[in-house]
């Protein structure tokens, strides 16, 4: 505890740096994943191709990624860009699959109904498909956020400052409190990101407040009336945006 008190400034500094290091990859990964995931969802040919490719990228261990990116991209080995790009690739790899799954989770009947009332495919994507895919998208984004925060600690190996500094430095100097603080702070930052995304999701998708959040519905008992509950989770979000859209 005394270690924490006397190193409070360092801990706060590293936490801020850590947040900065993780936020950018999460946002860029999400933005890039939407078109990529859409292409994967839309065409059967590209689906296999893209999902295999992101699957392979996802497989690469982080330390190996940090080592092979610099010569491939011509960036500095110890540059922060190295870690940022690696984390973005991982975020994209998880999110692209999530986007494809989320778009596929939209009820086909609703999609046809939207086409029938006159949506062009462009406006249908933004006004019908994307909002309805929202809950699954959000679940994917929360996974991305949490794992990016935890992954950013490894960046310290190639010199990117983060809470990982408390691990390596604490281990070298045999200060248990330092390593423990690093673990606790990383988990804390991850949980705060997760919470914020959940709140953001409720704000952007008000209809979710009525239904259940995707992360909790995932594990709800489906024992007794599965036919009922599996359609229910999709019904809750469908009601609102479509009626909004047709009223417009």
């Amino acid at each position: 505890m005394t270690w924490v008190v006397s190193n409070l400034a360092l801990i706060i500094d590293l936490t801020i740096v850590h947040v900065r290091l993780s936020v950018l990859p999460i946002i860029i990964g999400f933005v890039l994943a939407i078109p990529l995931g859409w292409v994967a969802y839309r065409f059967r040919l590209t689906r296999g191709l893209i999902l295999t490719l992101v699957g392979l990228l996802y497989t690469i261990p982080s330390l190996a990624m940090f080592v092979i990116l610099p010569p491939l991209l011509g960036i500095g080995f110890l540059s922060e860009a190295n870690v940022l790009i690696a984390l973005t690739i991982y975020a994209l790899a998880i999110m692209a699959r999530s986007v494809a799954d989320a778009l596929a989770s939209v009820d086909a009947d609703v999609r046809q109904a939207a086409t029938a009332v006159g949506y062009s495919s462009w406006s249908r994507f933004w006004l019908v498909d994307l909002p309805l895919a929202g809950p699954v998208l959000l679940a994917g984004l929360r996974v991305v956020a949490v794992s990016t925060v935890s992954l950013a600690t490894v960046g310290i190996i190639v010199g990117a400052q983060s809470l990982g500094y408390l691990f390596t430095n604490g281990y070298q100097r045999q200060i248990l409190a330092s390593v423990l603080t690093g673990v606790v702070m990383t988990v804390l930052v991850a949980l705060i990101f997760d919470r914020l995304l959940m709140l953001l999701g409720r704000w952007v998708m008000p209809w979710m407040r009525v239904g259940r959040t995707p992360s909790s519905s995932r594990f709800r008992p489906r024992r007794r009336s599965h036919a009922n509950s599996s359609s229910h989770s999709r019904l809750a979000p469908t009601a609102e945006p479509v009626s909004q859209g047709s009223a417009r």
Binding site: P61, V67, Y90, S150, G164, V187, S230
Partner: protein, 249 residues
């Protein structure tokens, strides 16, 4: 690209294939830690996951464990466990950390494999007079195998990737060559061993992907809808996301 030719030269250099610290030795060490952690994790997580999936008891626990595990930085846990256990016990301590990483995805895979089975199938099995054990072994476990292998697949990825980092607590594995390459500024060694560990991860992933595909019981495969867009994906997609939970270190 010049650096990559150097890396390949390092990989095929006969001098790196014999003696202590050779490539085969590092790969064996790496696979050894991975296997030890995976076996321990399977022994713990599979029966537990099946029990939860069959009885429906303790679901909250599974959700809690898999959710919380995502946030844990395994890189930090490695240091933490070794410091608590002492340097002499760093080998078992790091195997335990690797095992802890593997448990949540396997648990989720074993549990959700049973969870997504249509309840009518289980009711049918019960009504033709199967005992609970028979239902578990002959109906639920075979039907749940694909998701279980999905869980094993993401677990093995996490373990292989994190085993790269155990060099930082003074153990071997392929990470040793990478870090030594970084420290000596030997790009051929560092890149070569990075490519090596990527290849290892890809091969293990491919093996488990094959298991995942061929673990589907024959009757189920015949009637399965191939086009993902027309299947009720809500159920399947969520089950899959629970299994492939997090990017490994």
């Amino acid at each position: 690209m010049n650096l990559f030719t150097g890396a390949f030269a390092w990989l095929v250099d006969a001098a790196n294939w014999q003696g202590s610290g050779s490539i085969p030795q590092r790969v064996t060490e790496h696979l050894g830690y991975t296997a030890a952690a995976m076996i321990l994790a399977v022994v713990i997580a599979v029966p537990l996951g099946w029990w939860v999936g069959h009885t429906g008891r303790g679901k909250e626990l599974v959700v809690g464990v898999t959710g919380a595990a995502r946030a844990l930085p395994s890189f930090g846990l490695l240091f933490l466990f070794v410091m608590v256990a002492g340097v002499l016990l760093r080998e078992p301590a790091s195997v335990i950390v690797l095992m802890l990483l593997a448990v949540p995805p396997i648990l989720a895979g074993a549990y959700s494999g049973l969870e997504v089975i249509d309840r009518r199938i289980i009711d049918a099995a019960r009504s033709v007079g199967m005992t609970e054990w028979q239902i578990l072994w002959r109906v639920e476990v075979p039907l749940g195998l694909p998701l279980l292998f999905g869980g094993l697949r993401s677990a093995v990825l996490q373990v292989v990737a994190t085993a790269v980092l155990i060099v930082y607590i003074g153990l071997g594995g392929i990470g040793f060559d990478i870090v030594q390459g970084i420290q000596l500024r030997r790009y051929d060694q560092m890149l070569g061993s990075a490519l090596l560990v990527i290849a290892l991860a890809l091969i293990l992933d491919a093996i488990f992907a094959l298991f995942e595909r061929y673990a589907v019981p024959r009757g189920v495969r015949a009637g399965r809808n191939i086009d993902v867009r027309t299947t009720p994906l809500g159920r399947r997609a969520t089950a899959e996301t629970t299994a492939t939970s997090k990017k490994a270190m």
